[in-house]
Amino acid sequence: MTTRTRLIALLGAALCLTAEADEPDPTEIVRRGDDLLRGGASYARVSMDIKRPEWSRSLVMDAWTQGASNAFIRILSPPKEKGVTFLKKAREAWQYVPSVDRTIKIPPSMMLQSWMGSDFTNDDVVRADSLVVDYVHAISGEPVEKGVAYWVIEGTPKPGAPTVWGQIVFKIRKSNFVPDRVDFYDEDGTLIKYYESSVIREIEGREVATRFTMYDVTRPGYSTTLGYDRLTFKPEIAADTFTLRKLTR
């Protein structure tokens, strides 16, 4: 690299920086919202309520996370699912089912399938940071509703990124970066599902959504609510938590 190209590159970088300083970077806003729950490490006792026109059921589970890449989940109830474990590392996932004593790797073709019968897909769980890294974000509005200021940010897939949505619209609180609502559109611009935070609490100095629901717009009566009964960002995580061996124990 010649001195001149280096200089131009530097100048370019400097220009970008000044541009960023003027207005908030939309990707950064989305990332901060995402980091609230997934940044650092966490342990949570989560209850998952799945609603269907024909039935509804609740699952209780323990979940450990480390950054965006590692997660370990153990189902505690109901009895039929007790002991089912789920491990996520980077962009791969495994599930252990005690009744057949088998660890099953979730294949890529199954990523859009429902996770444990809920309205969250394996993809939602496994590639949680996809919404941050695989999309280009732009602020499309800054509404104030009921005294709360929001950013409305539109995410469109980066070319070539392995995304499933045509567009994602985030509505994020300016005060605490909590996403109040996220709309998921397909390639034709049809709303497929949306996520809504219903309870926001302060946990260890962070304001986070401790109860939120995913609604399936295409199928009326389908929704899944996640509630954090316990949540800490300073968990004790054993060294072997995110290993395949841990699944079967």
Binding site: I50, R52, E54, W55, S56, R57, P78, K80, E81, V84, Q95, V97, S99, V100, R102, I104, K105, I106, P107, S109, M110, Q113, S114, M116, G117, R219
Partner: protein, 410 residues
């Protein structure tokens, strides 16, 4: 009536010319009859093959099951329904099924699959499931843990006959469905989509794993002839209502296999356009001979007018000649087309060369043309319409003939 007689005699006056004109119509008509019958026949074979492969002519399902196919919307009393259906005429076989989805795993490999819970004996009578076993054997009655696996899926899983596989899915009540099965046989239908996803396991095993409470997703019904489909469907509905089984719905294969129905309709319609174009070409030929015949007889027509025949009658006479020729042609066309078509309908037409392509679409390489009133009506309709349209021009010209000029015409 006199005009018709005169027209008839005029046709006889130049036999060679008339026969040639009529033959053109005959050939068009015969070709149309044969190709249309061939087309209908290929549809009949296609329907037969796809319906026999799996779907059946009819299915009894829980109302609202189709098209989402949610496991929870199940037929709760399959035995009562099967008893009703089996008692009806034209019903050849009845089979209950659970259509479940799940992950299928062997060792470190996992793939998505569609697991059919089947009654081995009833399924064998209804579908070709037992005939497409390429390795191992079919599931026997009383087997609780056997499974048939699509050949491509088995290949992907690295599973062979005798191996254990595990399935994992979501039951009708949302609970986890899981179980172990032992591969008894590999199925190969030639339709790669099916061979890549299909599994078939004993009904009770799948019912239990998927919390179906003895319910099934569908009761497939096979009839002796497709043409009774609608009638039997109505009959089943009536009988089920009588017995108070009101939440069941009877679906016919066009609903269950919309792709087959649509491709048939598209193919038929594009065929009609093709035939119309073909006959249009023939029509220009016919118009030409009609017009030639008319020009040759200008002097004669002039004489008729000079003798006091009204132009309208003259025009009608010329048109009647064409009509009679077309009718003669159609009769000839039927005389040629019907026997040839019937011959191949019985014997079958073997397109053996393209066997693989045919297999992919669930077709057999032997096609039996199917002669029907529909085919005859369309063939005759198209030919008559276009030939009679072609005959309008000479008739219109006849009305404008000036006697003096016509008499001078040589």
């Amino acid at each position: 009536m006199t005009l018709v007689r005169i027209a008839w005699r005029n046709i006889g006056r130049n036999k060679r010319r008339s026969i040639l004109s009529a033959l053109a119509v005959s050939f068009a008509c015969a070709v149309l009859i044969f190709s249309m019958a061939l087309q209908r026949g290929s549809y009949a074979d296609m329907i037969y093959n796809t319906v026999h492969a799996h779907t059946g002519h009819l299915q009894v399902q829980r109302a609202g099951y189709w098209p989402d196919r949610t496991l929870a919307r199940r037929v709760t009393s399959p035995d009562a329904i099967m008893a009703v259906v089996r008692a009806l005429p034209h019903v050849r076989a009845v089979a209950p099924r659970v259509n479940a989805a799940g992950l299928v795993s062997k060792g470190k490999r996992t793939f998505g699959g569609l697991i059919f819970g089947i009654d081995p004996v009833r399924e064998k009578a209804l579908s070709t499931m037992a005939d497409v076993i390429r390795e191992g054997k079919y599931i026997e009655e009383g087997d609780r843990e056997g499974v048939l696996v699509g050949s491509l899926l088995a290949e992907n899983l690295g599973a062979g006959v005798g191996d254990e596989i595990v399935f994992l899915g979501q039951g009708a009540d949302g609970s986890l469905a899981a179980g172990r099965l032992v591969v008894r046989g590999l199925i190969k239908t030639g339709v790669s989509e099916m061979d890549r996803t299909t599994l078939a396991a004993p009904l009770a095993t799948i019912q239990d794993a998927y919390s179906m409470n003895g319910g099934v997703s569908e009761v497939a019904v096979l009839l002796d002839r497709d043409k009774y489909r609608h009638e039997v469907a109505g009959e089943i509905e009536r009988k089920l209502r009588e017995r108070g089984l009101t939440n069941a719905a009877v679906l016919e294969w066009p609903t269950l296999l919309p792709g087959v129905e649509q491709s048939i309709r598209i193919d038929w319609n594009s065929g009609l356009i093709m035939y119309a174009a073909l006959v249009l070409v023939v029509g220009f030929g016919i118009a030409n001979t009609f017009l030639m015949a008319f020009m040759e007889r200008m002097h004669e027509l002039g004489v008729l007018l000079a003798l006091g025949m009204r132009p309208a009658s003259l025009s009608l006479m010329v048109y009647l000649e064409s009509v009679l020729l077309v009718l003669l042609g159609v009769v000839g066309g039927l005389a040629m087309g019907i026997p040839i078509t019937r011959y191949f309908q019985v014997r079958g037409l073997d397109f053996g060369v393209a066997q693989e392509t045919f297999a992919e679409y669930g077709l057999s390489p032997v096609i039996h043309p199917e002669l029907s009133l529909l085919v005859l009506a369309w063939a005759i309709g198209i030919v008559v319409l276009i030939s009679l349209a072609a005959a309008i021009y000479p008739a219109v010209k006849a009305a404008r003939v000036k006697p003096v000029e016509a008499l001078r015409h040589t």
